[in-house]
């Protein structure tokens, strides 16, 4: 069994290495006419960019993606520099007409994004020509290897039950060098994905056939990410099913997050796209879905006929009615650990790291400041955006609409949710984003704290303060602090994953939806002591 695990690990690492290695393969070049077609498609009017791009991309040389990218980016830069210089010159000459003319030649957009678009057309090579084989060598080996590593646990872990043996004795799960390597890999992955997608254009070739099958178009980096996300969740869900096979709550919950990720976040949007409708994730609620009210989305939805209007109305109903009503009845868990994609990854890929959330009071204070700030940030951004959308103004309350959207997308959307949120799993735990950053979680949390039937009931006087619940709380709640006082847990950050209850050796904790009265029960003397003393102390 151990041997199977090791073989699995080797196969997995081989798949991962090939996957990573494909980045460096292939050559990138276009013919002059292809470049010209691209320029036409993009509507670039500049002659400089035409010349520069032909020089850069229509090269005789065998360029790898990095050379190709830097040449293309240099071409954009050269073109923009050229017109910036002209603008500066006409500005100095006070030749306003000429100066104004130059702006149409400028190229907007992120250089890496432009490079990606060109590279997607320019790539040639073994990977692109053998996408099917490379799917097996990367995803295939990765999946098979990971499953071989995971499935023997069914036997190796022994009889069903909580088996956290060795978690703090192993490098991978105790912030050792393996954990740091994983962090570096994940952070690099997100940095490349978000900011340098052209570097990983080879990955998109591997998934082109699947993308074409699903939605008729070629795979983008986001398709790669979405597909990878689903694959990782499925494989790591197998791990969850084995680890918590005695715990039906965990089994049902894992199935639920898996279903919502695969069907709602992945398949439905792809199928919608193939039908020409805007791809929409029907469970992704604003403000987590922070660009729902962005101009491009509102335009796109309002131009998509009935389905677009339906999505627009649904999106608002989801946030304003469904979300809070469901939180009232079931707690925010219905979303955060049963439905949400971020939660889904955290509860599958992130499960081995859940113990790393910081339980200190300081961290709790930081959490409250940060998450509510992000909520305010997202609301201000949306108000500014909507005001500008309907009024046609550039800014509102002195805030430039484009600037605040760009800033939010960059800081919160990319860095916080992605690079930090997932990249930091192995060291800071699997819910960094959900705990400190997610504006939707902040909103749900407020409802959960003040108007909900959900609580984690503490079972009278049974707690022995062992600390398993606190240690394995991914949200950094010091569960024990409540349990040992006989108090129910009603914290806004609780996502109801149910692991505290699962790891409790004494049957102290139970997630439940009950009457509001008696939900919050501060006690000084716990159940089981002298009845008179309990009354005396607890009633004052």
């Amino acid at each position: 069994m151990k041997a199977i695990k090791n073989i699995g690990l080797i196969i997995f690492l081989t798949g991962l290495s090939i996957f990573t290695g494909t980045i460096f393969t292939g050559s990138f070049s276009l013919t002059t006419s292809e470049v010209e077609a691209f320029i036409q498609e993009k509507g670039y009017k500049s002659d400089v960019i035409r010349k520069e791009l032909i020089k850069a991309a229509a090269s005789e040389k065998e360029l790898n993606i990095f050379d190709f990218s830097s040449r293309v980016r240099a071409a954009y830069q050269a073109s923009n520099d050229h017109y910036d210089a002209l603008i500066a010159r006409y500005d100095a000459e006070k030749n306003w007409d000429k100066k104004g003319e130059q702006y149409q030649y400028k190229i907007y957009g992120k250089p890496h994004t432009l490079s990606y678009e060109l590279a997607k057309k320019a790539g040639k090579g073994y990977v692109k020509d053998n996408a099917g084989m490379f799917w097996w060598l990367t995803f295939g080996l990765g999946i098979i290897g990971a499953l071989l590593f995971i499935l023997p646990n069914f036997v190796l872990l022994g009889p069903a039950g909580i088996k956290n043996n060795g978690i703090y004795l192993e490098s991978a799960t105790n912030r050792g060098w393996i954990a740091w390597l994983v962090l570096i890999y994940l952070v690099s992955f997100y940095l490349v994905l978000y900011f340098m997608a052209d570097y990983v254009v080879n990955w998109t070739y591997i998934l082109d056939p699947i993308s074409e099958f699903l939605n008729g178009g070629q795979a983008s980096q986001w398709f790669v990410y979405g597909f990878l996300y689903c694959v990782i969740m499925i494989v790591m869900a197998a791990r969850m099913y084995i680890k918590y096979r005695h715990n039906k709550y965990q089994v049902v919950r894992t199935t639920s997050v898996l279903f919502f990720q695969i069907v709602f976040a992945f398949l439905i949007p792809e199928i919608m796209a193939s039908l020409g409708a805007p791809g929409y994730d029907f469970k992704n609620a604003f403000p987590l879905d922070y660009d729902f009210f962005f101009e491009w989305n509102l335009d796109s939805l309002s131009q998509s006929g009935a389905i677009g209007i339906f999505i627009l109305v649904w999106g608002m109903i989801l946030t304003l009615i469904i979300v809070p009503v469901m939180v009232y009845f079931f707690g925010k868990r219905w979303y955060c650990s049963w439905v949400c994609g971020c939660g889904g990854l955290a509860e599958t890929l992130g499960d081995p790291y859940r113990q790393h959330s910081d339980k200190s009071l300081k961290a709790w204070k930081l959490e409250r400041w940060l998450i509510h700030s992000v909520l305010v940030f997202s609301l201000v951004m949306t108000i500014v955006t909507l005001y500008c959308y309907f009024s046609g103004a550039q800014s509102f309350l002195g805030i430039n609409s484009q600037w605040i959207k760009d800033t939010y997308s960059f800081l919160i959307g990319a860095w916080f949710a992605g690079v930090i949120g997932t990249g930091f799993y192995p060291i800071f735990g699997n819910r960094v984003w959900c705990r400190f950053g997610c504006p939707l979680a902040a909103y749900l949390g407020l409802v959960q704290r003040f108007k909900s039937r959900f609580r984690i009931t503490t079972n009278g006087g049974q707690c022995i303060s062992c600390g398993n619940c606190s240690t394995y709380c991914e949200q950094g709640i010091d569960v024990r602090a409540y349990a040992q006082k006989g108090e129910n847990i009603v914290r806004s950050s609780c996502v109801g994953c149910g692991i505290c209850s699962a790891v409790c050796p004494r049957g102290v904790l139970k997630l439940e939806n009950g009457p509001e009265q008696g939900r919050i029960n501060p006690t000084e003397i716990l159940l089981g002591n002298d009845v008179d003393l309990m009354k005396l102390v607890n009633q004052k």
Binding site: G158, K248, I464, S465, P505, G528, V531
Partner: protein
Amino acid sequence: MEHIVIIGNGISGVTLARHIRKNSDKEITIVSAETDYFFSRTALMYVYMGHMKFEHTQPYESWFWKKNRINLKKGYVQQVDPKKKQLVFSNNETLSYDKLVLATGSKPNKFGWPGQDLKGVMGLYHKQDLENLEKHAPNNKVCKRAVIVGGGLIGIELAEMLHSRNIPVTFLVRETSFWNGVLPAGESEMINEHIKENHIDLRLSTNLKEIVSDENGRVKSVIIEETGEEIPCDVVGLTAGVSPNIDFIKNSETSAEPSRSIETNRGILVNRFLETNIKDVYAIGDCAEQREAIGNRRPIEAVWYTGRMMGETLAQTLCGNRVEYKPGHWFNSAKFIDIEYQTYGWVFSERSKKDTELHFHWRHPKENICITVAYDKDTNKFLGINTFGIRMRHKIFDRWLTEERDVNHVMEYLADANFDPEFYRAYEKEIITKFNQENNTNIQPRKKSWKRIFAKA
């Protein structure tokens, strides 16, 4: 300001200190020789198993003590001088008190076995025991086999710990079945099976004769009393119960003035108010011994929550509201490897139960799940319940015991008491069907009702 000194930073002493602070401004000092900060002794096993780090066993962050003005003093108290109201430490330092609370806990029992002090022989109680175990049994290369002597809660925990590191374990149990002095036969049998299912070499009705040393004063093997078999091993765990850790009190006795000494038996003798025979000296937790047992409880109760309750109670007394220690209905819980156990009220084993105590037992045909309900033969009064693999709601059973419900009522409303996580399979129907068959009753199980659960008692 009155200075209250508490010896022992376990659950009793710390609970007491917290409650005194809530109710007063008194100066509080907690003395411990074991650790700087309070930790949960019951969680030591999880540190060895790698579920947690030692710091996770500490329920309060280190700023807590300063913020609550609770002085922590590390030191070993050698003598108590009640006349001068002063403690003498092993380094001859002294500390004066106005009121002294002894909360020194327990120490593992040793019954004079030959070789019981060899290197590699250890109990599992103190933090130092954990460090010792880590030294002698870090893995199955250094420790090729461990022998555990004594089949109680700590014994099975130690077996689980060693098993988690794939160290072969031989488990010597004096009784004919695991913990059958406490558990009824059916339950005890299920635990026997579960121990074996985990490949632990369980030896029932087996006593230790001696522990054999190698040439370096280390454990080499143990010899079994009954068969004379020699079992080679590198670690011997002595887990035959605990007794009050009060040697330093006994050392403090002055034969010249016996009336000025703190009176002890196995533990420190206290009355219902947790007061010793000496004014301003109190004892709580594992080290305290009730002069007369409370109800069915033992005079010395080495249980986590009773320590806590004594702390809660004594704090009232020390803050001017003299309160008697009156623990409510007995309850407890434990975990036998993967099987959770809870008990509410009294269920006695065949060895100790009265003839009027009847048992109803139900066991799942395949899973490690069972319950035993005890009730009175004549009145049908519900006496207590043991559950294995099913969690129960403390509040409901506490209420039923207070209301003196009969066993039929408990059966009928059993669903109200279930505390298993959501989506778990419930077994009330099977349980009640069997109960009806055995007792010729026709009880229909009621559905769970929030209204009843949250009704004010």
